[in-house]
Each structure stands twice: as C-alpha cells, then as structure tokens.
Amino acid sequence: MRKTLATVIKEWILFRRDIAGLLLLFIMPAILIIVMALVQDAPFRDYQEMRFDLLIADNDQGSLAQQIKAGLRQSKNFHLVDSVDGKPLSEENLKQLLQKGKYKVGIVIPKGATAEVANSANIIANDLSKKLGLGSTLPAREHRGNTYIHMYFDPVSKPTFRTSIHFALDKFITAACSNELISRVSKLSKLQNDSTADTKNGDFGKVFEGVGLKEEPLNDKASYTKHMNSVQHNVPAWAIFGIFFIVIPIGGHIIREREEGSALRIELIPRAHISVAFGKIVFYTLVCTLQFIVMCCIGVWIMPLINLPSLGLGLHPLALLPMAMATGFAATAYGYFVGTLFKTTNQALPFGAISVVIFSAMGGIWVPIELLSPAMQKVALLSPMHWALDGVHNLILRDGNLGDILQNIVFLLCFGLCLWLVSIYKYNKRGHSIQ
C-alpha cells in the first residue's frame, strides 16, 4: 500500500509540473462540451418547444379561418404572418417566400372553406337530429369537391419537421371543424327550444377539457424529471469522451517511462511493478473522476449563462461519483493497455486517439443510440462509452439510483480489469532489459 501511495504522490508531482498538459486535460473537454451543446442545441430541441413563423394566406375570410388563426395565435409554437409589407399574403407570394427559404412553412385556406365546413357540419347535425327525433333541420347541400387547406414547406425542410408541423396544424384545424359542428348541433337544439342542450361552452377545447392526452412523469417526483436535451446529452457524453481521451497521455507516459529508462528502474525493484501499475491506475482514475465533476459543474452553472438549459443531475447525484470512477478506471486501464501494447508513441497515440473516436461513435456519444440502426445498437454494447453514458442517463434522465447503474459499473470494471490484466501479462512477457 505504501508503494501504491508513493506512486500516486509521484504521479501527482509529475502531473502538476506539466501545467500545460493539466490545463488541456480540463480545458479541452470543457470547450468540447460547450461547443457540442451549442451546436446540437437546435437539433435536440423538440419542434414543440420551438416557435416558427407560419405564413398564412386567407382566401376564405370566414369563421373557419378566424378560428384557425385564433388557435394558432394562442399557440406558443407559431407566429402567424398573414401579410408582408402591409399587403395580405396571396398563395403566390406565400410560395415565393417559401421557395426563397425565408420561411419554413405556410398554409393556404381556400375560398369557401368556411361554407364547406359549415355545410358538412349541417349535414352531420341534420343526421344527428334525425336519429334523435328532433325534427328540425339546417340548410345543407351536396359536397362541392375538395376544399383542402393546403400546406407548403421550404423544400429544404426535413421529413421529421414536416410531420411535426403537419400534426400540430391538423390539431388546430380539427378543433376548428369540431367547434363548427358543436355550434351547429347547438343551433339545432335552440330551434327545438331545448334549453338543456344549450352548450355554454361553444369551444371544442373547453367542451373536452380534462379529456385527451396528457404527458405524465414516470415517477411521483415530477418536480425533478428532466427531458433529453442538448445539455443532458452532450455534457455527459463529451465528458465521457474526454475521460477516455486520457488514453493518449497515459499511453504516451508509459512508453516515455520505458524509453527514458525509469521503467527499467521499477523493474529492478522487487515486487514494485504491480504496486506502481496500481498506483498509476488509482491516480488517473481520480483525475478522470475530477474531470467528470468539473464537466458536470460546467453543465450546471456555465451552460445557463450561454442560454442553454442547466444540466440536471437526477435524484441521486452522488451516484454519479461511482459511475465516473468506474468510467475513469475503464479509460485508465485502456490507456495502460495501449501504452503496454505498443512499442512507440508513433504507434500508440494514433491507435489510442482513433480507437477512442470509434468507441464514441459506436457508443452513442455523437448521436443518441436510439437513433442508430438496430444492428448498430447491438454493436454499441461493445463500447465502454455506451455503458458509461447509459449509466449516466439512468441517473440524470431516468432518475435512477445506485442500484440502477450497478450493471453499467460492473461492465466498466470488468472491461478495465481485463485490459489491466492483459497489460500486466504483456508487460511481464515483454520484460525490460538493460540496453
């Protein structure tokens, strides 16, 4: 134990003397998480959270158009643009603006849409009246063909964006149509002098208040639950990536010690090698843990300063500590492995760097694993970064506790232990000799 402690102290002295290296070890991942969180902020935002300029050409000028516009105006997602340069938008103007890419989406309410909806509502109301034996009828005619509300998109828009907007607009149009229907049924009732049928709430939304879809948190601690966003993904993801990049300094450090001869000195001391190796692992695992803590602090306190959401640490933030330590152990052991496996820094450093990038791509660091193909989702299980990120997500998104991340920790420890044992075997097999 004294030998291990001596190694930790020695590593600390070497570490603090390399101020530039020390700063890079903390500053570069910090820059990485900030840049990645900023870059991926927009793609991560749900479309429901965003506010779009919506072009609207109202050729109808009827109650249906009024209802749709009122609904859209109340919505947090749309900002209605129905005139440009003081002139009401025409269908042609709308198309031109979208074609130029100045706006993303527009709708055209065709002439006679209100009349057509009213006619349809009258037909349904009359049908109901007939079935209920009310006797009264509203004027109705045959359908006059299609009077669809047309949607237009900027050609650059992604399919997911189109689908989201489509659903959101559809909701308002359905509500407007339903309101029309209710008002017709209400009118029929009045014709029948049935006061009980008088609908006080002519608005469809109010009629169905308390009915429909409402998202609820999975646990009873709704005050906490965080949703996936750019910060919740990027801060832990790139912090883990940064932790694994410690492979480069560790690998280089081990090869340098071998080249400069200090590894030979250790070899000549009885029973020193294992203690020294363990000391290195302990020290760098602590460095990685500290690195993760610093990145989390940046997520919590610095991100809101640059208009990004604050990082939520879950209901059991202390459980992040063993998670970070297990990740640090896996990364350190991997660095030790790379340093032992290769003879020169020219071999070790490119391998270390590229393998970390591959592990990160496989493990869902760049894009959430849910977006990968089913085959790649299986491949991701081979990446220690996936286990690390999944464990952190269990804590900060799924409100998990230590029990929920045990499997992740065990995997990371096994990964690290296997590599460390292979490194020691390789080290002993290669041996050192006086040159």
């Binding site: 020695k10 002295i13 040159q435």
Partner: protein
C-alpha cells in the same frame, strides 16, 4: 561460499540474431572484489548483466548471485543487488530527492532511512546542492552520479555497473571511481563493465576479458600485463586477446 557471482556455461541467442550473444560463458567473481568485465562491442557484457539481474533468461547454463539462482530467486537477488544501467534510469521531471524518495519507498525503506541514506550519498557524490533540481536539468556527469545513488539506496551487497563513466568529464569520472573504491572498501562486491582500460586498471582487483560470448582471459590487471608477452598496459592485453578488427 567464496563467490559473489557464479556464471557457469551460459548460452544465449536472441531471436533473429545470426550469432549467439553468449556461447558457454563461465565466470566467477569472489566476494569483496571489484571485477571489471571487459570486452569489445557485442562480446556479451550487457547480456550477462541482464541474466544476472533476472531480466533475461539464458538458453542454457546457470548464473548465481550469493548462491541464489538468477532465473528463480529474482526477488531475493534484486533485493541484494544494485544495478546501474548505462541509461539514466530516473524520472527526468522529478528532482533528485523526489526520485530517491520514490525509489526508496518502492524498496520498502522507511522515510527516515531514505532521507539519511540519500543525504549521505548526495553529499558523497557531490550532488547535495542540487538535490532539489530536476534530473532532466542535470549535466551528463550529474545524471550518472544520481543514477548510481538510486541503485544504492537499499544498501546492496553487490553493485553491478554498466559503463558508469560513459560520456562524463574527468572530474565526474574521478569522483565516481573514488566512490566505487570507497564502497568496495566497506566489504561490498562490484562487477563493472567499461571500454576504458585504464579505468579498469586503476580500480579493479581482477578483470575478465570476454569476446564473442566466451571467457577469454582473467586475472589481476598487473598479472595480465606481466604474463602477456609484449604488453605494457591492459589495453595491449585486451587487443592481444580480442584482436584489432572493428566490431559492429
């Protein structure tokens, strides 16, 4: 047991090598002697040291230090042997004192003893004023002296040095040689390799000349000079037995 080192019929050939590094080398070093292991490049000096330290396994033959088999009792041997490799086996970014403290700790020596021993050796080898300087900033001679100190912290009975004065100035060399004599005078054994014949002549009780992995001739420098016809210096004896052809 009169011998500190017993090397018997050692054979070693490295993978991919055309000729053996050791080809039946036998050598015996008595206790409390300074013995110079001399030979041209590729004679097998460093391989012999590697085998003695348990860093390399011989293909055949045996090597013993104070009766302990070098291949099997590695831990015991490393505990009683101090090895000064030719390369500076120290941490360049640590000060001399930090290096010695760390190495002493790894040997399991307590802090007080590390301090006492380091201070004594630093003073003796003229590095006491530079103990807080990083090894990387030392001159070549200072590095060599620090390298020797690091190998002596655990007070070994046998000191093996591989060209300890290579590339150092006259003053540093004199200091190192005086120190080795003093260390020997305290009852310790020293095995020492060098290409500098006058240095061996100056400090060795006996020298062993090896070539092409075999023992060629041995004895005290004076005996060897007087017993070899036409030789006035040890260098003449060396050239007489190993020839004038350049070795690669």
């Amino acid at each position: 047991m009169p011998f500190a080192i017993e090397i018997h019929d050692l054979h070693k050939q490295y993978k991919g090598s055309w000729s053996p590094a050791l080809d039946g080398l036998s050598l015996y070093v008595k206790k409390n002697q300074i013995v110079g292991l001399l030979g041209p490049n590729g004679a097998g000096k460093t391989t012999s040291i590697n085998i003695l330290c348990g860093l390399v396994e011989p293909d055949e033959g045996s090597a013993k230090i104070y009766g302990h088999n070098c291949g099997k009792d590695t831990l015991a041997i490393r505990g009683m042997t101090g090895v000064v490799p030719q390369q500076i086996a120290l941490f360049a970014n640590l000060t001399a004192w930090e290096n010695f403290y760390y190495i002493g700790r790894l040997y399991g020596i307590d802090d007080k003893k590390i301090r006492e021993r380091s201070n004594m050796l630093l003073e003796r080898l003229g590095l006491d004023k530079h103990a807080d300087k990083r090894i990387g900033r030392y001159s070549g001679g200072m590095k060599r002296r620090a390298n020797i100190i690091a190998s002596l912290l655990h007070e070994p009975r046998l000191l093996i040095l591989d060209e300890p004065t290579a590339g150092v100035d006259v003053q540093s060399r004199a200091m190192i040689l005086n120190f080795l004599k003093e260390y020997h005078s305290r009852g310790n054994t020293i095995l020492y390799t060098s290409h500098l014949m006058e240095e061996a002549e100056q400090i060795c009780d006996e020298v062993a000349i090896i070539d092409e992995g075999k023992f060629v001739v041995g004895g005290s420098p004076k005996e060897l000079v007087s017993n070899t016809a036409g030789c006035r210096r040890l260098e003449d004896v060396f050239l007489h037995y190993t020839g004038h052809s350049v070795r690669d």
